[in-house]
Amino acid sequence: MIACSRRLLLLLLLWAAAPGSLLEAQTAGATPSPARRGEVVFRAAGGCGCHTDYERDGPRLAGGKPIKTPFGTFYGTNITPDPEHGLGKWNEADFLRAMTEGQAPDGSHYFPVFPYPSFTRMTRGDLSDLWAYLRTVKPVPRANRPHDVPPPFRWRFGAAVWKALFFRPGPFRPEPGHPAQWSRGAYLVTAVGHCGECHTPRRLSGAPKANMFLAGSLDGPEGQLAPNITPHRATGIGDWSDADLIWFLQTGGYPDGEQAEGLMAEVIEHGYGELGEADLRAILVYLKSLPPIRNRLAK
């Protein structure tokens, strides 16, 4: 007979191991390499669409993309392995710290326009694989563009204060009692896909309104709104079928024939559109389980 405490330990070990099992291998056959697995993580993160200046045909992941916020315009950074302007001199620990703690190798704090409040929830395995993938990207010696943000918002000290007030680091923990598919969807949406970073409205402080999760924001990253993607029928996506949702994430096509534009079109084209159907189904199962929130954004 296993003692109660040992049973508990076994359960704890299984539970702790669970986040690793959330990583579904999208490639069949022999065990994929970390970089190959990392590419799946990369797609699930929207192809890191904030780091390529698609509109001006900028080189892949070499930065320069303007991201408009109420605090000013930030420019996505060069995340290619270029040693001078990119992440060439970083090691994996640097990358993990940036993604999970919002801190640069030199100790300075990142502005939360870099969505580490979501990425902190990623598993260490996924982050390690993502790092392996990023190392395979072509290095581009393109300097980062300084952010166009007025003081005090451009002071790094402010980012440290913001973090102290609003940032809680820590990985995603699957809630017991939920099926694996739901947990996978919850992980993809809240951690890797970081949908809430654009689709959740924020307070004046820039902190997301927790009770309005995914209910849409007028202040999206291009100064345009990000729609309500809770399953509310009138103001959200409650009237979309499963096929509508999956098709949208694969192609950017709305049920009524409209098409996604701008950054959303880019993260679909370079990211979510490349996900396997199992992952897309997991996302939709999770989204449909959320509380429908009435939030009309139209003028």
Binding site: W247, Y254, Q259, R296
Partner: protein, 165 residues
């Protein structure tokens, strides 16, 4: 009568010339009322999203109507061709989501309209193949050209009067 007077010839000349001048100068475009043009072109835009949405429904539900896709794509080619005509000067105000750049950056606008026409033409070509995956890939390109034009020449959702959510 043995001899027609010079006056009758002169009158005849003036009448015939006047007839052709009237024909020449009464081109309908100058007389169109802007609200009507706006309402008409919104129907044209709606027709485009109708056809593209129809193709999307065939593909996303795996319907047996792949034979219909070519016709929808041909309609898209035709409608895209109309774009160049339905944004005349003086139709940028009122119940429209058209941005001023359509007129201030006419070249860019025309380029975007022609891009749609070209991608829709490619869709016509691939539609006959029955290869859902190739058709899907081309539908994505058509969609991208819709979004590419809208991004620069249509009001964002925040200000769009025709977006209801």
């Amino acid at each position: 009568m043995k001899r027609t007077s010079k006056g009758i010839w002169a009158l005849s000349f003036v009448l015939v010339l006047g007839f052709f001048l009237a024909l020449f100068f009464s081109t309908p475009a100058l007389a169109d009322n802007p609200a009507g043009v706006i309402a008409y072109r919104q129907k044209v835009m709606g027709a485009k999203s109708g056809h593209l949405g129809a193709i999307g429904q065939i593909l996303k539900h795996g319907l047996s109507y792949t034979g219909h896709i070519e016709g929808h794509a041909k309609a898209l080619v035709h409608l895209a061709g109309l774009l160049e005509e339905v944004f005349p000067e003086g139709t940028g105000k009122g119940k429209t989501d058209a941005l001023p750049e359509i007129w201030s950056d006419r070249d860019g606008f025309l380029k975007a309209a022609r891009k749609l026409k070209s991608e829709a033409s490619n869709l016509v070509k691939v539609a006959g193949s029955g290869d859902r995956s190739a058709i899907g890939a081309q539908v994505k390109k058509v969609g991208k050209s819709c979004g590419g034009c809208h991004k620069n020449y249509r009001q964002p959702k925040k200000k769009r009067y025709a977006w209801k959510k």
